[in-house]
Symmetry: C2
Subunit: 179 residues, 2 copies
């Protein structure tokens, strides 16, 4: 079985969460499984170890789990991108639109240095709003976003297209169409 199919078989689908008509793709069952977690990280290591990456950044909160493991496995440091008000030192902020209202993501001002090549990681690509916000923040500090990596892509929700239009390369280990 191909890696993508193994990963998909370990992801739990929860109908009508967080609201009616949405199928939530729950990666907790995937990473609960030792072979699942191992496969996720090793597949990402396979892709990124030949690339020149200075540091791995992850989006709160599920992006921390995979991002932390991947940074360790690649022998790089890790940068957390957090929700508003969580980081203790001076931050840069980026506000972005949600369906209703706005949200904000933050980064420590010294977390990325001018010219650094950053790999941004999150668990799942839906609309792409959060990951584009994260990528903008990295660029605000002078970093370059080498790629944005996900475990799961939901191509029909539009994030892949949004990332392409925003100019960010993306990669996902598997996808669920029709979501």
């Amino acid at each position: 079985m191909a890696a993508a199919d193994i990963l998909k078989s370990k992801i739990r689908s929860i109908p009508d969460f967080p609201k009616k008509g949405i199928i939530f793709r729950d990666i907790t069952t995937l990473i609960h499984d030792r072979e699942g977690l191992r496969l996720v990280v090793d597949e990402l290591v396979k892709r990124y170890s030949p690339m020149e990456i200075d540091i791995v950044a992850g989006l709160e909160a599920r992006g921390f789990i995979i991002g932390g493991a991947l940074a360790y496995a690649l022998g790089k440091g890790f940068v957390p991108l957090r929700k508003a008000g969580k980081l203790p030192y001076k931050t840069e902020q980026y506000e972005y639109q949600l369906e209703y209202g706005t949200d904000r993501v933050e980064i420590h001002v010294d977390a990325v240095r001018e010219g650094e090549r950053v790999l941004l990681v999150d668990d799942l690509l839906a609309t792409g709003g959060t990951s584009i916000a994260g990528a903008r923040l990295i660029e605000k500090l002078g970093g370059r976003v080498v790629e944005i990596a996900f475990i799961v892509d939901l191509p029909d929700v539009g994030g892949r297209k949004a990332l392409r239009e925003a100019g960010y390369p993306m990669f996902a280990l598997c996808e669920f169409e029709g979501d």
Copy 2:
């Protein structure tokens, strides 16, 4: 230099955060550093690889970074313990006292099985409230908490004593006294 001293030298101290008189110990600078992240995980692997551990659990959100990396490095699966309302499947909850009010931590009901030996991980031990709540949840599902591991212990805040009284073994890679 001993591992604990190296780790401490990479942790940033932020005075008066989140409120006046508190020195916040900021581990983002430690894990931003590739040698820092590597040392944290490798020291924990050294301690836990000889022990019988079935799965690693981490507390949201900074516990996800270290917990995810440690689970991967130990070849185990990972269980996220999350704040209220974040987990998509059926959960067990545990409510605990804060200085003002209460907080709640949740676990998926199938995240730990009867008799499993669980290593619980968080970044920093202060009062111990959250980690005791996490340990109780693991036990609610029939799991056994082998140990609770931290990067930093602030012994003067009382968490170490609280964990001892609650019956949970703890381990920290370094400590800051006088906090």
